[in-house]
């Protein structure tokens, strides 16, 4: 299977990334290389093999839902690129 420029554009759009024409061409080549390599997984017959998403056999780990004082509003906004003292500031969504 080979990766096309159209696919790279579609994937970039999904990932909220933008590439210039040159970058897009290079990314297409690199992804194509890597994906061709990854295709070696198809040498293996995995029918009947369950997919593994996690190493340990743990499911539904929960803990009591207790309110703790961790960070306050001021701290939460400390790392914000733009804030007005009480809220994160973002660009207008509806023009």
């Amino acid at each position: 299977m080979s990766v096309t420029r159209e696919e790279v554009r579609r994937i970039a759009d999904l990932a909220r990334l933008h590439f210039s024409d040159d970058e897009e061409e290079q990314m297409t080549d690199e992804l194509d290389d890597i994906v061709s390599y990854v295709d070696k997984l198809n040498e293996l017959d995995t029918s009947g093999v369950p997919p593994m998403s996690h190493v340990l056999d743990v499911t539904d780990v929960d803990r009591p839902d207790e309110v703790e004082a961790r960070i306050d509003r001021e701290q939460a906004l400390e790392n914000a690129p733009d804030a007005d003292g009480s809220y994160f500031r973002v660009p207008r969504v509806i023009e």
Binding site: L14, Y37, L44, V55, L56, A76
Partner: protein, 528 residues
């Protein structure tokens, strides 16, 4: 180059030959002297570390000595320490500072450790050479035109260059073990879930582990003992008792069954590394271990499996960097201007296409106009495009591809099934043997710039380390001497064990460390 250990510092403090303050001062001097050349640290907290050391000294005088008083640590810059920056080697988090301590940090702090600074790493821990950092590459202290390995390259370099006693790194596909091997330090990737990931910036959540790097097996064991254990803040941390790892160190290897996975000793392995590893195995055998060849038949599928799963998880984890709540945000006005310009351009072209009767072109342009991003979407895109470096973008792209409609079954789920096969390989091998011995890396450290043009070639360097992350088993790398090439570079040997059997790895590691020290003493008797 001196290789300071905490065990020695602890003894010196107990005998009042030194103080925490004196230790910190001396490390700060070494950092001052060497960091410009090595670029191992992204931040050094001179004043904070000295103040903390003085506090610990005063507590000691009052009889309140902490178990790790005098331990001076460097911490990879993707692990949170309250009020320290945590850049992850990225422009995206250049201005970010942490609001809380990672659980591992909190436990070390309570035990009396001093954090001297944050260490450089590949951007978001994605890399095998420390060359993808926004803050420039780290140099290998042993040979400065060589890479220190990655992604925990700054931590490995700091430990090797004597800028701290030990360091924390993180290992998703070999990021503790490979740089430890390249720089000649001890490095442990614990069992998945052994150490809480709370406060470790996520790369691939089903693979990520915080691990210690040190100048001795004993120090690594001590660090693990401190940071391991269940944590309510990380649902994937394991509720398994933490043994006193240091007590296991003197167990020896008599009667132990050692396995050599044949797939790790094939084409691509440097012949000198193979010889050095086999010589160590020979010595283990002399010390009473039985050695046999075993097979991990799916080893050759490790890299392909890893790069599908790790990038898929990364693409999802890194979706949070959108420039809204924290981190870098692209310039809003520029974003707006760009959209406006592009819109005007499209409209002009559209009317030209219409007047030329080029209906197809007109339809395409109409679609592009209709699908133009909103200002907010454009701001996300611009933020991520400017904030992430090339390797991170490549991995986000690959992961998004593997998870996208039409490819999910072929890539992501396929890789998850192969992951099961890889884990089964280890389960079967550990029915026959107690520990596996392998090279940590196929070659010693390579030159800066040598592999940066070929991402796939760079990925293949992780061939011996990624499978431990996929299977979740612990892996310890121990330095086994110097490669005879030019320049002489460190070589590491990897020990792999059953889930939660780090004790055994430390025990074997201690025997190897002693053997290597004996060999070195024999080789250079005059230096004693």
């Amino acid at each position: 180059m001196t290789h300071p250990t905490f065990a020695e510092a602890h003894r010196a403090i107990e005998e009042e030959e030194t103080s925490c303050e004196a230790l910190v001062s001396s490390f700060l001097e070494t950092i001052d002297e060497k960091n410009d050349a090595l670029n191992a640290f992204t931040a050094v907290d001179d004043e904070g570390a000295l103040n903390h050391a003085r506090y610990l000294d005063s507590q000691r005088e009052r009889g309140n000595a902490r178990p790790l008083s005098g331990l001076v640590l460097a911490v990879k810059d993707n692990i949170c320490i309250r009020s320290f920056p945590v850049t992850c080697g990225s422009k995206m988090l250049e201005e970010f500072s942490s609001l809380y301590d990672a659980t591992a940090i909190q436990r070390l702090r309570e035990a009396g450790a001093v954090f001297i600074g944050k260490t450089n790493c590949d951007e978001f821990a994605m890399g095998s050479s420390n060359e993808t950092s926004h803050f420039g590459p780290v140099k290998n202290p042993v040979a400065p035109d060589h890479v220190p390995g990655g992604s925990s390259g700054g931590s490995a370099a700091a430990v090797r260059a004597g800028m701290c006693h030990a360091a924390l790194g993180s290992d998703t596909g070999g990021s503790v073990r490979q740089p430890a091997a390249f720089c000649g330090t001890v490095g442990l990737k614990p069992t998945y879930g052994r150490v809480s990931r709370y406060g470790l910036v996520a790369f691939a959540s089903s693979l990520d582990c915080i691990g210690p790097m040190a100048n001795s097996v004993e120090d690594a064991a001590l660090l693990l003992e401190t940071i391991a254990g269940a944590d309510p803040n990380d649902a994937t941390s394991a509720d398994v008792d933490v043994p006193a790892y240091r007590e296991a160190l003197d167990g020896g290897v008599d009667g132990l069954r050692v396995g050599l996975p044949k797939e790790y000793f094939t084409e691509g392995l440097d012949p000198d590394i193979e010889r050095m590893v086999r010589a160590q195995v020979e010595t283990l055998s002399d010390a009473g271990a039985t050695v046999k060849e075993v097979s991990l038949p799916h080893t050759e599928y490790g890299i392909a499996t890893y790069y599908v799963l790790a990038t898929a998880e990364a693409s999802s984890n890194l979706a949070r960097y959108d420039g809204i709540r924290y981190g870098f945000r692209a310039d809003l006005q520029e974003t707006k201007d760009d959209i406006r310009e592009r819109r005007a351009e499209l409209k002009k072209e559209l009317s030209a296409a219409r007047s030329n009767g080029n209906d197809e072109r007109a339809a395409d342009l109409r679609t592009e106009l209709d699908e133009q991003q909103s200002v907010l979407d454009a701001l996300y895109t611009r933020t991520r495009t400017q904030g992430f470096g090339d390797e991170v973008k490549r991995r986000i792209m690959l992961g998004t591809y593997a998870l996208s409609a039409g490819y999910y079954d072929d890539y992501y789920e396929k890789a998850q099934r192969v992951r099961t096969l890889i884990r089964n390989d280890f389960d079967r091998a550990f029915e026959e043997v107690d520990v596996l011995v392998t090279p940590t890396t196929p070659t010693p450290a390579f030159c800066l710039g040598e592999k940066t043009d070929d991402p796939l070639e760079m990925y293949l360097n992780d061939v011996y380390t990624v499978t431990a992350n996929l299977a979740g088993v612990p892996g310890l790398t121990v330095p086994i001497g110097t490669h005879p090439g030019d320049p002489p570079l460190p070589v590491g040997m990897q020990l792999l064990g059953r889930h939660f059997d780090e004790s055994l790895l430390f025990r074997v590691g201690q025997v190897v460390e002693d053997q290597v020290a004996d060999d070195e003493r024999r080789a250079e008797p005059d230096r004693r």
